[in-house]
């Protein structure tokens, strides 16, 4: 079961309300988010607008505001919110016994359009 999941380390490595990056050789970099509420999400680190690094945005609730032109992106679905249209792939993620796991196939499979 753990085999499908890629262990990316301890939850303490990401402070609440912040994000960190995970480069993947041969595929797009991933941004791993931790909300104030200690929910964890992973998205491809590219804004659907003009590829801004979402990991560097301000996180509020379950939303990240892109640092380049302030689109609001849902951490859960990768979808742009409000008037803006676009979607960035999200990577299934789970937390177990204080460690974070990403779905292996999604880590390598993903590629932002």
């Amino acid at each position: 079961m753990i085999g499908e999941w890629l262990d990316i380390g301890k939850v303490e490595q990401i402070a609440p309300g912040t994000a960190r990056t995970l480069p993947v050789r041969g595929a797009d970099e991933i941004a791993v988010f931790r909300t104030q509420n200690n929910e964890f999400y992973a998205l491809v680190n590219k804004c659907p607008h003009k590829q801004g690094p979402l990991s560097q945005g301000i996180i509020h609730g379950n939303v990240v505001t892109c640092p380049l032109h302030s689109w609001n992106i849902s951490l859960q679905t990768g979808e742009a919110l409000g008037e803006d249209k676009g979607c960035v792939p999200s990577i299934p993620m789970r937390v177990d016994a204080g460690r974070m796991y990403l779905l292996r196939s999604a880590v390598v499979g993903q590629k932002a359009a």
Binding site: G3, L6, D7, I8, G9, E12, Q13, I14, A15, P16, G17, T18, R20, T21, L22, P23, V24, R25, G26, A27, I30, V32, T35, Q36, N37, N38, E39, K50, Q51, G52, P53, Q56, G57, I58, I59, H60, G61, N62, T65, P67, L68, S70, N72, S74, Q76, T77, E79, D96, A97, R104, S105, V107, V108, G109
Partner: protein, 837 residues
């Protein structure tokens, strides 16, 4: 083994009974036995092994025992009589050490061998012990059973200090008990928020403030490095950041682990806990397990409510009426007297989820419910938990709440009141003498009178009768009254700070000072924010307002800053950064130029450019390389140019009297002095200064936020210029005779702007809004004003003039610049992948 079930009840003999052996004389084990006895008293011949030398008691009441609110006798669930009446053999103080599934026997520590037909494992959990140096010293205790409580009470009798490691439910209850017993208690918690698994930031903040008010010291973000000793006994705790806290006792309450070792050794299927099916049967059909030691459908539980449901399913199945257990939704309450706190379900929101928040600062109440698809999915209540059970019930049932949505947050009484579904109707129903505004003692009749006399907006009501003008908690009521009295004619007031609040920028700034608010969650609570943690507009604004209000005391909140200010560099369209070191007054020298040239080469910067602000900009630096780049620039004496900040940017100068044939004063020298005085300051928006040596104005001083034009007789000081999107030439503020006066007025003007402007309002729009006369009055009407404002500016500068680059180059916030990890697939096959830290 299945023979007995075919016999008639009355025919059963003692030998025909199934032999049931229970390992664990705790809450789940005994409850399971009770449930089975209730269904079929003659089915089993029961033996219970307990590691603890006593009968079964209510473990959750250990907290009140520690706090002195209950005695051991009060918390016994099954006394000796229960075991006797039901012919249960209790083997206490003798733990089972092995299970032999082949021979259907268990062996205890004392060597006793007990055969079974059915075995029930109910061993609960073990407290997790941080493996830090000193964890096994005398004086380090956990909080799990009565013996632990006895040790804590003995320590409390001797007095002194206690450190509790872990700010979750157990840790806080231990801390509360020890502090009531007279110890000086420090709680060290790894996360920034107490009970972060159950609480959101807002509720965690309220809890922390209350515990601190009660005299506990709460250290969040504290990572324990070591427990140190004196004469062989614990003496204190040292954190990784070097802080030390003295301790006569250390309580380790960092979590629990299912006690599944015995089952694992016996070859049963175990993951985190003992794996059971919906009937609480393990991988061996003769062995059942229940309680905190099990893992059911992937979940392990640490609360009693799920255990009761498990015991019900277990007994049904064991007595051949299988019903099945499907997992539990849990809720949490903290048992600390005087603190009401409730949390249940999922309050992380998510797509389509909507938060409904209500804050009542006067009563210290914070309530938040999360609704999704017309169902309640989560709730956090602080200060008033009366409706906790009602919310929990709605949540568990998945009840459709669309009919009561508007009134949901006000609680059960209100929401079920039928006619009161509409909050406006509830306000309409209030009597005329009902008090609307508690702070100013304004009645409903008085508010309606004010509205009838022409006040058509919230602001007009506020100034008309003072209702909602102080703490603002009645704003919603006043708005309802406006709607009721005027119908659709309510005028929207001045723009609020953002959609999370009904207060304007000015209100927020004023109230931060008046109410002595010192942290973002504090402001949000007291000013009734409607979102749990704000948005990307209000977080940076509040961070600035607090920084400006409490220089040196307020701790900057990095996560509320825009990326440029968080990383002290300008983000570029490709996600790299540009680096602009300060060049004081536009001056430079070979050493600085060499350092910049070296950095450009060493880090392969694709471009270096002279900026419009008289300095050099290095482009294309990766976030990982920034600290190293800064270290190199620091080595040449260069510091951050804050080209990224809502802060002082540049002081442009011209050559001035030093060289220029027209120069009247030393504009270059004055520019450098002013930049040395003002660099590093945080402002509502960016701030630019220039000094020109004569009215030819080569430094373009008349389109700067503060511009100086030197003339023969002194210095003309100009303010409110802007060369950006909308060009605005400066207004002449005054003329002074000396450099010192020019610098004093500059400092005073900046401080006035810092204290009064709205966040993201540059000096030009600020002056357009308030008028030049207002600025002049603030500076000059009272003879001491300039000096007082300047003094406040200089005071706040003492905390700002540390180069942020040096701090980062030295390793602070290193995680902002490093990747979490790196994934390198060996091939593109998902299986063959490894992670490299």
């Amino acid at each position: 083994m299945n023979a007995p079930s075919t016999l008639m009840e009355k025919d059963r003999t003692a030998t025909a009974k199934e032999r049931l052996v229970v390992i664990g004389n705790g809450m789940a084990g005994c409850r399971a036995v009770e449930e089975m006895l209730a269904r079929d008293p003659a089915r089993f011949d029961v033996t219970i092994f307990g590691a603890e030398p006593r009968v079964n008691y209510n473990r959750i009441m250990l907290s009140p025992v520690l706090a002195g609110e209950k005695a051991y006798e009060d918390i016994i669930i099954n006394g000796a009589g229960w075991y006797a009446d039901n012919a249960i053999k209790l083997v206490s103080g003798d733990p089972v050490v092995a299970i032999d599934r082949a021979s259907h026997t268990v062996v205890s520590q004392s060597g006793r061998v007990e055969p079974y037909d059915r075995l029930l494992i109910a061993t609960g959990s073990d407290p997790f012990i941080l493996p830090v140096p000193g964890h096994n010293l005398p004086g380090v205790v956990t909080f799990r059973d009565l013996d632990d409580v006895s040790k804590m009470l003995a320590a409390a009798d001797r007095g002194g200090c206690a450190v509790v490691i872990g700010g979750g439910l157990l840790g806080l209850e231990a801390a509360h008990g020890l502090s009531l017993r007279g110890m000086k208690v420090t709680v060290v918690h790894l996360m920034p928020t107490l009970m972060e698994r159950q609480l959101d930031e807002a509720a965690g903040y309220l809890l922390k403030t209350e515990l601190e008010r009660r005299g506990q010291m709460i250290v969040t973000g504290g990572d324990t490095a070591e427990i140190f000793s004196h004469d062989g006994h614990v003496a204190g705790v040292r954190l990784k950041d070097g802080r030390e806290f003295a301790a006569d006792i250390v309580v380790m309450a960092v979590g629990i682990r299912p006690a599944s070792g015995l089952a694992k050794a016996a070859g049963l299927e175990v993951d985190r806990g003992i794996i059971v099916n919906d009937h609480m049967v393990t991988s061996d059909p003769a062995v059942m397990a229940v309680g905190e030691c099990v893992q059911h459908r992937g979940a392990c539980y640490g609360l009693v409510a799920p255990l009761w449901e498990m015991c019900r399913a277990l007994a049904d199945a064991a007595c051949e009426k299988p019903s099945g257990y499907e997992g539990s939704v849990t809720s949490t309450k903290l048992k600390v007297s005087g603190i009401d706190l409730f949390s249940a379900g999922d309050f992380s929101g998510g797509e389509g989820a909507e938060d409904i928040v209500m804050r009542d600062a006067a009563r210290g109440v914070y309530k938040r419910v999360v609704v999704k698809d017309n169902r309640l999915i989560g709730a956090v209540l602080y200060g008033d938990t009366a409706d906790g059970n009602w919310y929990f019930d709605l949540l568990k049932k998945g009840a459709d709440i669309s009919g009561i949505r508007e009134a949901l947050i006000f609680g059960q009484a209100f929401a079920s009141g039928g006619a009161l579904l509409d909050p406006n109707a509830a306000v309409a129903a209030l009597s005329d003498d009902a008090e609307i505004c508690g702070c100013n003692g304004v009645t409903k009749a008085r508010v309606i009178e004010t509205i009838a006399a022409g006040a058509c907006s919230l602001d007009a009501v506020r100034s008309g009768c003072k209702a909602s003008a102080s703490c603002g908690s009645c704003t919603g009521l006043v708005e309802s009254l406006l709607t009721l009295t005027l119908g659709g004619e309510v005028q929207s007031g001045p723009k609020t700070l953002c959609k999370c609040t009904s207060f304007t920028h000015d209100d927020v700034r004023r109230l931060i000072l008046e109410k002595n608010l010192r942290a973002i969650p504090n402001v949000m609570q007291e000013l009734h924010w409607t979102t749990p943690d704000g948005c990307s507009s209000c977080r940076p604004a509040l961070n600035y307002y607090l920084l400006c209000a409490w220089p040196g005391e307020y701790e900057d909140d990095q996560k509320s800053r825009f990326v440029n200010e968080r990383l002290h560099a300008n983000i570029q369209k490709d996600g790299t950064y540009s680096v602009v070191p300060r060049m004081w007054g536009g001056l430079t020298n070979p050493r600085e130029l060499r350092a910049i040239a070296d950095v450009v080469e060493k880090y392969n910067a694709p471009m270096v450019k002279v900026t419009g602000g008289q300095r050099l900009d290095i482009f294309g630096i990766k976030k990982e390389d920034l600290p190293a780049v800064w270290a190199d620039l620091n080595a040449a004496g260069m510091v951050s140019g804050h080209a990224y900040g809502k802060s002082l940017r540049t002081v442009k100068t011209c050559v001035g009297s030093e060289w220029c044939r027209f120069g009247t004063q030393d504009s270059t020298g004055l520019g450098v002095k002013i930049e040395r005085m003002t660099w590093g300051s945080w402002m509502p928006h960016k701030f630019k200064i220039a000094v020109s040596g004569c009215p030819r104005n080569c430094a373009e001083a008349t389109i700067k936020d503060f511009g100086i034009v030197c003339v023969e007789s002194g210095y003309e000081l100009h303010v409110g210029g802007n060369g950006g999107i909308k060009v605005r030439a400066t207004d002449l503020l005054c003329k002074v005779a000396t450099e010192q006066e020019a610098m004093d007025v500059c400092a005073a003007f900046i401080q006035l702007y810092r204290e009064q402007a709205h966040y993201l309002e540059r000096t030009a729009p600020w002056i357009e809004r308030v008028g030049l006369d207002h600025v002049k009055a603030g500076l000059f009407d009272d003879p001491g004003s300039v000096q007082r404002l300047a003094a406040r500016f200089h005071h706040s500068q003492t905390y700002c003039q540390d180069d942020p680059w040096a701090e980062r180059a030295g390793g602070k916030y290193a995680e902002l610049h490093q990747h979490l990890a790196e994934v390198r697939p060996l091939t593109m096959e998902p299986q063959a992948m490894e992670t490299v830290r």
